[in-house]
């Protein structure tokens, strides 16, 4: 850390040296004419010379000049001014904002930037400043609720977990629906690249504080330039760049704790007394239901062995804890007109509240922009990061601590009488089944070290004023070192005598792009221009995957690498590569910012497609009419902006397609009698190609009261064709299916964003952003029009005419008040019930993806005191307990702890109206009442206070001046402080990802932190 600071210091010194010509020293101050605030970084130039300076953080400049000489003040977004040097004091300079320039907000798609006015597509940009310092391990999490149409959910609270992102709904059945990520022009390998780790995310290596902006590209105009990879939308991240002017140094620190989001009351595990009561009731009922098996001897011995212990412990308390949360970031920004630098270093640490789950990250960023000459400029970016992550297993794994909150009984004892960790496997007060998670955490290892280098260099050559050539090359280099060790005493390694895995995974991904951009300004008319771009791009990603695994370890907790194991199990390596290349072009015409037309075309090819269909063409056309630029618009003054835009285009989805799955091949590895063997085992399909999508978008942008309030509405429809599905084959050909482009699906929806400054006075401002999105997904074509039970998630069945994530299960009809038996409706008509689970038909019922979601984000500022409250909401879906709910309800899995709701509501007396069946280890309910049905579906609606910040901005504090501090901001923050849910039965947190299934993942955390931003 110290070294990095010194390095930054050295850099800052290096870039702030200037020399000046000898003359009288003139000192002055530049402020904004609008609000009187000082303007730092204004270029002050002595007219007719090459000499010039920039204003400092207080807008102050000093320059050597003689009386009568003219100083020229230029600053982006402001009208230039010239002032001649008087004989006396230099007068204050007040620059007026250039309204025309300010409307030139730009939208960038990674290939080109366009002014907001001329832009015909649908894209939302979030300034990086909005999400700085938030205690999220990936920058994407911070975007939740900030962008209409962007649905983000984390199904795990593991720091560094992969985040499920959907832009305008699910786009595919067998491929990925995750968007394409582009960082500083580079199309990166995204998602979870690990192989042993439960969940990880490449984006954990990106520091929020290094981000200048995140742009979410949604429609055809915005995305089609990405061709066969654009269908899921694109998230473009640009990092901060150096600005000419006084070098500023910024230091941010935040620290605090992570805490549990309390489990919903319905989902709390039972206390020892409650569990004991339920257990005894269950086994006594079983003795009535099945007196042969549950005879008096068995009942007595089970009660004694399972719940008869004198000691008990609370597994939720044992396995959860308060964690540490901290981050430190330091950055410098500055440079001269010709050389501009942004550099940063950061450290981030988060511990989840469950044992064995944490993340530590170092990041560094170095961006340099160099103007070489009038015609040439060079930019380089370099991002370095290392993420260290410990991740427990999830789901039904015996080692999963989240599962063991329930799977372990209060009477299973974590510690021996002498205080040591209990590793005994015999007896019901010990661990014959699930493991003592505390012992596992203390003795096993599940560690990921992910190191990433993302760098690029871009050369711009302005061949002449209208024509620019850009050459770009980038490398995205990821290495993942994974170590898994399972001790020989207890847990997954026991039967193997201990086992160790060492996996090394490397992705070397490079991209090169050359493009020519031309802009022709029609002479004599302002803002009438034609622009065009043509370019070529090639990309190759090379994966190298090395796997080693040995068994039989000595009982030496510190010796865990696979070299220690006595029995070699695996030592092998393989590779996984893909390439893309594309010819692309865009063209646009803009008439006085009134009418704008744009189009794009890309011819894309990829190694992942079948040989016959390796290349495809993708296009978009869009148009916009800025009504506010029309003369007639000026007759009113309520509306300040009015724009209508529309676009249509074709894009593709190839994300998640196997690198080699289209190729008919004979694979090796089918060895026989100690010799190599090959089989024709991949049928492939030489015609296989991307899933295609036609995107339609119609948008309206309205600004009221001088754009104090703006409203944006987008209506869209995405028709997806050629969904990749496995069509059944006659098995006589030797294969069961062929992968073909055969299915269809549709997403349509509406997005609305309202934002602005409802209140803006001298002392008080309120900035708000409210957005709401609705998406409706419909599967429209499947093989033979036949419904398919989702093979990955059998709680769903997809079929034509319905939402992709439609639950397909039996309808729970509650409990028979007479005898406490669980009842199900026999079919969808709900006309008859049965107590026989198997006799009830499965029916299509509600959906798992939300109908409505969005955010309501507010910042209030009163005399330097800021209050920020970000709210996220999600409505219209059902979340489910299909994965493990079976064990956590009723008497079937009587040796597991239960949800409190079960305890509190179980049927006990004839006539009792309840929805929880009679609790018995045997009889008609056992073995079926906890089977998956609509009983395991819960309303997934929730509203959550994601982020709450109260801070104070110290201004003009004399002590600050003394130490050269020009900004000091102190704040306190809480995340996930409050969640409102709408189902009293809901036993877990409703944020679960697209499949909405509770898979016993690491709990989401609530953080309390205090932070400090200092600027020099």
């Amino acid at each position: 850390m110290k070294k990095i600071l010194l390095f930054l210091l050295a850099l800052s010194i290096g870039v702030s040296n200037y020399t000046f010509a000898q003359s009288r020293k003139i000192t002055g101050k530049v402020t904004s004419a609008d609000d009187g605030q000082p303007l730092p970084g204004v270029s002050v130039k002595l007219q007719g010379t090459n000499q010039g300076v920039l204003t400092d953080g207080d807008g102050v400049f000093s320059v050597n000049a003689s009386t009568g000489q003219v100083l020229e003040f230029t600053y982006i977004g402001f009208t230039s001014q010239t002032v001649s040097v008087p004989s006396g004091n230099f007068p204050p300079v007040r620059l007026k904002s250039d309204t025309k320039m300010l409307t030139e907000v730009v939208v960038t798609n990674g290939y080109a930037t366009q002014s907001k006015k001329a832009f015909t597509g649908s894209a939302t940009t979030v300034s990086g400043a909005e999400n700085e310092n938030k205690p999220f391990s990936t920058p994407i999490q911070a975007l939740q609720g900030q962008v209409a149409g962007l649905n983000i959910s984390s199904n795990s609270g593991q720091p560094g977990a992969n985040v499920q992102v959907r832009i305008r709904g699910v786009n595919s059945i067998s491929l990925s629906s995750q968007p394409l990520y582009v960082i500083d022009g580079m199309i990166i390998n995204s998602g979870d690249l690990s192989r042993l780790t439960t969940t990880s995310n490449v984006l954990a290596g990106i520091n929020e504080n290094d981000i200048e902006s995140v742009t979410v590209l949604k429609d055809a105009t915005a995305t089609a330039i990405y061709g066969s990879r654009a269908a899921n939308g694109v998230i473009v991240i640009n990092t901060k760049r150096g600005k000419a002017g006084k070098t500023t140094v910024r230091f941010d620190a935040e620290g605090g704790i992570t805490n549990n989001i309390p489990l919903p009351k319905a989902g709390r595990p039972l206390t020892a007394d409650q569990y004991k009561e339920l257990f005894i009731e269950g086994i006594n009922n079983a003795a009535i239901d099945n007196p042969t098996t549950f005879n008096a001897t068995r009942v007595a011995s089970d009660i004694a062995s399972y719940v008869g212990g004198a000691r008990s412990n609370d597994w939720y308390d044992l396995l959860t804890k308060k964690g540490r949360q901290q981050q430190y970031n330091v950055s410098i920004n500055g440079g001269s007109e010709n050389t501009r630098v942004f550099a940063s270093a950061g450290y981030f640490e988060q511990q989840a509240t469950i044992v064995g789950s944490d993340l530590r990250r170092f990041t560094g960023q170095m961006n340099l922009d160099q103007t070489i000459s009038k015609r040439f400029s060079l930019s380089t970016n370099l991002n370095f990061s290392n993420v260290d992550q410990n991740t427990p297993s999830n789901g039904g794994a015996f080692a999963n601590p989240v599962g063991n909150v329930f799977f372990l009984r209060p009477f299973q004892l974590a510690y021996n009488d002498d205080g040591s960790l209990n590793s005994s496997r015999t007896g019901q007060t010990n661990f014959p089944g699930n493991f003592n998670s505390l012992y596992i955490v203390a003795n096993d290892k599940k560690h990921l070290s992910q190191t990433r280098i993302l760098g690029n260099t871009q050369l711009k050559w302005n061949i002449w004023d209208e024509l620019r050539f850009t050459s770009y090359v980038s490398v995205d280099y990821n290495t993942l070192e994974e170590v898994q060790y399972n001790n020989p005493v207890m847990g997954d390694g026991r039967t193997a005598g201990g086992r160790g895995y060492d996996y090394y995974t490397r992705y070397f991904n490079w991209l090169t792009r050359n493009q020519l951009s031309y802009r022709y300004n029609v002479p004599g008319v302002d803002d009438f221009y034609i622009d065009a771009t043509v370019g070529y791009e090639a990309q190759r990603s090379k994966g190298y995957l090395l796997s080693a695994n040995t068994n039989l370890f000595p009982n030496q907790p510190s010796l865990i690498v696979s070299a220690v194991g006595a029995t070699p199990i695996q030592g092998s390596a393989t590779i996984s590569n893909y390439t893309f290349d594309g010819l692309f072009s865009t063209a646009g015409i803009n008439y006085k910012n009134r009418y704008s037309l744009s189009g794009s075309f890309r011819r894309d090819g990829s190694s992942v497609f079948g040989a016959n269909n390796r290349y495809g063409n993708f296009y978009s056309v869009g148009g916009a009419w800025n009504i506010d630029q029309e003369d007639f618009f000026k007759i009113q003054n309520v509306l300040s902006t009015a724009k209508i835009r529309g676009s249509v285009g074709s894009v593709g989805n190839s994300s998640g397609l196997g690198n080699y799955q289209a190729r008919p091949t004979a694979g090796y590895g089918v060895n026989y009698a100690g010799a190599n063997g090959q089989n024709f085992n991949t049928l492939g399909n030489v015609n296989l190609t991307w899933e295609s999508q036609i995107k339609y978008d119609l948008g309206f942008d309205l600004g009221f009261f001088k754009d104090r309030l703006s409203v944006g509405v987008d209506l869209y429809k995405n028709n997806i064709n050629g969904l990749i599905l496995n069509s059944p084959l006659s098995r006589t050909v030797g294969f069961t299916t062929i992968t073909q482009n055969v299915g269809s699906m549709r997403n349509q929806g509406i997005e609305t964003t309202i934002k602005g400054y409802p209140i803006k006075t001298k002392d008080f401002t309120w900035v708000t952003n409210f957005n709401i999105s609705h998406n409706a997904n419909t599967v429209t074509k499947l093989i033979n029009n036949a419904p398919v039970v989702n093979p990955q998630n059998t709680q769903f069945r997809y079929q034509e005419g319905r939402d992709f994530y439609t639950y397909y299960t039996r309808l729970y009809a509650g409990v028979d008040p007479a005898n406490g038996n669980a009842l199900w409706y026999t079919d969808a008509t709900k006309s008859a019930t049965t107590s026989n689970y198997a006799a009830a038909a499965r029916v299509d019922t509600k959906q798992a993806d939300p109908k409505i979601f969005g955010g309501f984000n507010n910042t209030f500022n009163y005399k330097g005191i800021t209050l920020t409250a970000d709210i996220y909401y999600n409505f219209g879906n059902m979340v489910n307990d299909a994965a493990w709910g079976y064990y956590l309800k009723d008497g079937t899995a009587f040796d597991n702890n239960k949800y409190y709701y079960i305890y509190a509501n179980r049927w006990t007396t004839p006539g009792q109206i309840t929805d929880v069946p009679r609790y018995s280890n045997a009889g008609v309910n056992a073995g079926q009442s906890s089977n998956f049905s609509t009983r395991d579906l819960y309303y997934g609606d929730y509203i959550r206070l994601r982020n709450l910040v109260v801070g104070y901005d110290f201004k003009n504090l004399s002590v600050m001046k003394k130490y050269g501090i020009n900004r000091l901001y102190l704040y306190g923050r809480g995340t996930n402080l409050w969640t409102k849910t709408y189902d009293k039965r809901l036993p877990f947190d409703p944020e679960l990802g697209p499949t909405a299934v509770n898979n016993l993942d690491v709990y989401q955390v609530r953080t309390f932190t205090v932070g400090l931003n200092v600027g020099f």
Binding site: D581, A666, F680, T732, V733, I738
Partner: protein, 480 residues
């Protein structure tokens, strides 16, 4: 505009547009070859032959399902009352067209046939050398073996109705659009004709002593292994004259020998392949590196594994006290009380270094085929001669067969049951002879139906539903 500018533009334009060649998009998989280039020489061919055997070795085919059904559908093996839930429908003949094993054998059988077809096709493009002929011969013989298995599971026995639908005859590899074919079923006769001719091709192609890479070794099909399989095919077909010719050819020229009685248990206990032509003519290799693990044939029989399948008491009692084959049973189980008869032919389930190979055809079967074919064609003397070779070797106290005619043939069939128990062949002796299955009374079994009448549609397996769904040209067997 200056000339210089045009030059710049041209330069920039060239850099921009110049694209990589087509080969840039040709990323080759690291562990597989393009199918068109997969077999270019004899070495590739040998790899493909190994792959073909691997496909046959699968749990879904010879690795478990076929040998289990061959004994369980008949009267040799039953599923114990407490079990792992496997092979229950076969116990009470309740299988329908969604039955897992019916789907497994069909699907995996044609997968293995695809591999054989590919070798036959590609081998035909290579120069005919001893090596390529040997390997191509193995593919022909393996294809015949697979078809013989399939036609007997899914079609009526030849001896019952030779004109009944058999199975589709696919003899070309499914390259390109061939994978979309929807073939209909050939008749049983057509399938047998192909089996016989494939085995003739194999026998003709293969050198007597094999080749360097595939010297005669029980893990590979040798010249006389092909002839032995042909003897089985003729026997199943009821073509006893040809069965005699084929079996006699193996006996006279094959060079195979039977183990001594003293060594017979050790022969079974040894998991390694035979290189001296002892007993085993062909078996599929399993070893410590490549085996079927908990889904293997050994695991379903062994009491250290699932131990679901046991031998009927009546089978055990059919061996005389001095019969060495009695020693291939264990009579107790650590997981089951009382006396049970555990097949111990696959005893290496816990052996970390080697695993039991799956026996496909043994020399004793050929001798018994020869004997039965003689008996059924009225040559009692030769029938007794060859039947005694097996029976007296296994039971040195046995004084020899004394019956004649039909009774002798029946005795030989019983000898086959005793000799080939738990090798997956018993059921086909009953079906080819159109005999009912009468399972012995046994106290602790999974739900069981003890008789399978000759008229029952359950004598043959259903064509799997998945095949019917994908192939409109296929017809289902009656009764499903």
């Amino acid at each position: 505009m200056k000339l210089k500018n045009y030059i710049y533009l041209l330069l920039a334009g060239t850099i921009t547009i110049s694209s990589c060649g087509k080969e840039f998009l040709d990323e080759q998989p690291p562990t597989a070859l393009p199918i068109a280039n997969a077999i270019k020489n004899e070495s590739d061919m040998a790899d493909a032959v190994n792959g073909m055997y691997s496909a046959m070795r699968s749990t879904l085919f010879y690795g478990r399902d076929i040998p289990v059904l061959g004994d369980e559908l008949a009267d040799n093996a039953y599923v114990f009352s407490s079990n792992s839930g496997r092979y229950l429908q076969e116990m009470n003949y309740t299988y329908i067209n969604s039955n897992a094993e019916a789907s497994n054998i069909w699907t995996q059988g044609y997968y293995a046939i695809l591999q054989a077809n590919r070798i036959i096709y590609a081998g035909g493009q290579l120069p005919a050398t001893a090596n390529s002929s040997q390997l191509r011969g193995e593919a022909y013989a393996a294809r015949a073996l697979c078809y013989l298995q399939l036609v007997n599971f899914y079609g009526a026995p030849f001896t019952v109705n030779p004109n009944a639908p058999g199975v589709p005859l696919v003899t070309q590899p499914s390259f390109g659009d061939a994978a979309l074919a929807k073939p209909s079923r050939a008749t049983v006769t057509q399938v047998y004709d192909k089996i016989i001719s494939d085995l003739d091709s194999a026998f003709t192609l293969m050198p007597t002593s094999g080749v360097t890479g595939h010297a005669v070794n029980s893990n590979y099909i040798a010249k006389y292994a092909a002839k032995a399989i042909q003897a089985r095919a003729y026997l199943y077909k009821g073509d006893y004259a040809n069965a005699i010719t084929a079996a006699k050819s193996v006996v006279d020229n094959g060079g195979y020998t039977l183990s001594t009685a003293a060594n017979y248990v050790a022969y079974w206990a040894s998991p390694t392949a035979q290189t001296g032509k002892l007993e085993t003519i062909f078996e599929l290799a399993l070893n410590n590196a490549t085996n079927n693990g908990t889904t293997g044939l050994d695991y379903i029989y062994a009491q250290a594994g699932y131990g679901d399948l046991l031998g009927y008491d009546a089978l055990y009692n059919s061996y005389s006290a001095t019969d060495v084959r009695k020693n291939l049973f264990l009579t107790t189980s650590p997981t089951k009380s009382g006396t049970v008869y555990v097949n111990n032919k696959y005893s290496n389930v816990s052996n970390a270094n080697e695993k039991d190979d799956v026996k496909i055809i043994r020399y004793s079967e050929v001798l018994l085929t020869l004997a039965e074919a003689y008996a059924r064609t009225g040559d009692n003397a030769n029938a007794v001669l060859y039947a005694n070779q097996v029976a007296q070797r296994r039971d040195p106290s046995f004084t020899g067969f004394t019956s004649t005619g039909a009774a002798l043939a029946n005795d030989i069939v019983n000898e086959r049951r005793k000799e080939l128990a738990f090798e997956g062949l018993r059921y086909f002796d009953l079906t080819r002879l159109n005999l009912p299955v009468s399972r012995p009374t046994q106290s602790r079994t999974a739900p069981i139906v003890t008789t399978l009448d000759v008229t029952s549609p359950k004598r043959i397996l259903p064509i799997p539903q998945s095949e019917l769904d994908a192939n409109k040209n296929i017809t289902q067997n009656p009764g499903y």
